[in-house]
């Protein structure tokens, strides 16, 4: 069986499952952010007093934090009240950062477990071998009530990655290359497994970029097989009571791809879809107004480090706004300690508090008509980051930093 099949079999109390079979799985972790407000309203409507297990529910604020309107402030207030009433102790309020960074940092993303989140990028946690997927708010109300959810056992795709990245090319370029190849629906309903020497050699943060963006080709879940690196990260972050699950050698895949990263350059997803991918060098000269480094995709320490290395002792081009958003408080503190934030601020960057920032068009750096942003985030849909007449290009932290310096889209390899 594949990893997805094995985890679903175990979570549904079966010895084995087959693809396309519908199973009811026990949920290990149920995560929500601001939309917990919609969840709790639906939950109360069901007419049950208490959630099934307050210790398995994780709630935090990241999408509109701190509150940008009175309406959001009231949302936060209702959720805080509910959390207190229900005795939900895994509540991080708005001080910790983005859910997809905070949960691993606090030992909630565990190999072999089933996690659902009311956020599409919940696939991120598959970097730890978690069967992790996004669901809607009403469905989450059902999970809060019953602790279970139905799943169709997905087909699996295997992506075997070999070779060494050339300078300034990273996981973001690889996954954009893959999404460009497979398309926005290329992995719809499927489980995607990343394997091979390049993946084994990657940091945890880089693996999270792959599983995070797998959502943008429709994946239900994405996995990197847990190894020593995973186990030591999980243990260092107080993760316990988990059992590693790996695909069997005779597991069946509907598709297998072999990718050699040696020849992949810096890639950019052009407006207005994530599968509209081109090499960065083909876009040379495209004027930018804003450059954004952050998000659940690329707001981690290694992302800030490469941006700081590129911008060290230099200045962002006149007229370009550089926004820097550490993914979490921990990342923020470490980036301060390492001097990355000082470098980025000296270069002209504006550091915002950990959170989703303008990625989903909520607040903190929205775009005017005609403006162009190059961003390390994960979606460039029309109107996503403000005006429907603005343009968002998605790229790696290196490409974004280099472009901020030039004022136009520029491959980081350009001296």
């Amino acid at each position: 069986m594949t990893t997805a099949e094995k985890i679903l079999a175990r979570a549904s109390g079966k010895a084995s499952v087959k693809t396309h079979e519908v199973v009811t799985a026990r949920i290990d972790v149920a995560m929500s952010h601001e939309n917990a407000d919609v969840v709790l309203r639906a939950f109360k409507e069901i007419g049950i007093e208490r959630v099934w297990d307050p210790d398995r529910i994780v709630i935090l604020f990241d999408h509109r934090a701190p509150a940008e309107t009175e309406k959001t402030a009231a949302t936060h207030q209702r959720i805080r009240k509910f959390v207190a009433e229900q005795g939900i102790k895994n509540f991080y309020d708005l001080k910790e950062g983005i859910c997809h960074q905070v949960l691993p940092e606090h030992g909630h993303s565990l190999p072999g477990q089933v996690m659902v989140g009311t956020d599409s990028h919940t696939t991120t946690h598959g970097a730890f071998g978690t069967f992790a997927t996004g669901i809607g708010a009403t469905e989450m109300a059902g999970v809060w009530a019953t602790g279970e959810l139905w799943f169709m056992v997905p087909d699996s795709i295997r992506i075997n990655v070999t070779g060494r990245f050339s300078e300034f090319v990273s996981a973001k370029d690889l996954i954009l290359h893959i999404i460009g190849m497979l398309g926005a629906d290329g992995a719809d309903y499927k489980s995607v497994e990343f394997c091979g020497e390049t993946i084994t050699g990657m940091s945890i943060a880089s693996r999270m970029v792959l599983t995070n963006l797998s959502m943008e080709m429709g994946a239900k879940v994405a996995f990197v097989a847990p190894d020593e690196k995973t186990i030591s990260y999980v243990r260092e972050n107080e993760g316990s009571d988990f059992e590693t699950v790996l695909s069997d050698p005779d597991a069946v895949y509907v598709q297998t791809f072999d990718i050699d990263v040696t020849d992949i350059g810096s890639m950019v997803a052009c407006p207005h879809s994530v599968d509209n991918v081109k090499p960065a060098k083909e876009l040379a000269g495209t004027r930018i107004d804003q450059a954004l480094i952050g998000s659940c995709t690329n707001g981690r320490l290694e992302d800030l480090a490469v941006a700081a290395a590129i911008l060290d002792g230099k200045k962002v081009a006149r007229g370009v706004r550089l926004l820097v958003i550490p993914a979490s408080r921990r990342v923020y503190i470490e980036a301060l300690r390492q001097g990355y934030l000082e470098t980025l601020v000296k270069a002209g960057g504006l550091v915002l508090n950990p959170g989703c920032g303008p990625c989903l068009g909520g607040h903190q750096g929205l775009m005017a008509p005609g403006e162009v942003c190059i961003s390390t985030t994960n979606r460039n849909f029309k109107g996503r980051m403000g005006s429907p007449e603005s343009f968002v290009y998605l790229a790696s932290p290196a490409t974004v930093a280099r472009s901020a310096l030039a004022g136009t889209i520029t491959a980081p390899q350009v001296r």
Binding site: V22, E34, N35, D37, V38, R41, A42, E45, I46, G47, I48, H63, R64, T69, K71, T72, T75, G117, T118, D119, S120, T122, G134, I135, G136, A137, T138, E139, A141, G142, A145, T146, W150, A184, D185, D188, Y189, G218, K220, S273, L360, G361, G362, L366, R379, F381, K382, G383, R384, P388
Partner: protein
Amino acid sequence: METIKGRVYKFGNDINTDVIYPGKYLSITTDREEMAKHCFEAVYPEFLKDGQPGDIIVAGKNFGCGSSREQAATCLIYFGIRAIVAESFARIFYRNAINLGLPVAVAPGVWGMFEHGDVIEIDLENGQVKNERTGVTAECPKLPDFVLGILGDGGLIAHLKKQLRKD
């Protein structure tokens, strides 16, 4: 479930949830009129003029891709969309629609079968869609009984309430 019938409003491929319900309105979650007013407003503003309550959306592949925001399904319900038939759906939107009681059907070939304004008939129980004008039909794989049960009860919350009463 009875046969669902309505006027066709067509959309293309990869219609994402930011386009259906922009992020800037996410803090609006209960105001029916207000939410209905923003469906597709930024990219397909003509929908708000030409779309009518009772319409059935016929779309290409990967309808509802992107965010897990349930408001994308809710706003369509509040607008009065009766059902959605597509070549394929993105999975979170598909589940959200069912959980909110909005009928959805996957019918390969459906996009080419209809013109804007045609009348579509959907028979979820028997897994078939039909163009009333041309008489052409397409199959839509039948939903599992428990999913039909959720839809039949008007969504997951009503379904769970009913189950609780039984227990």
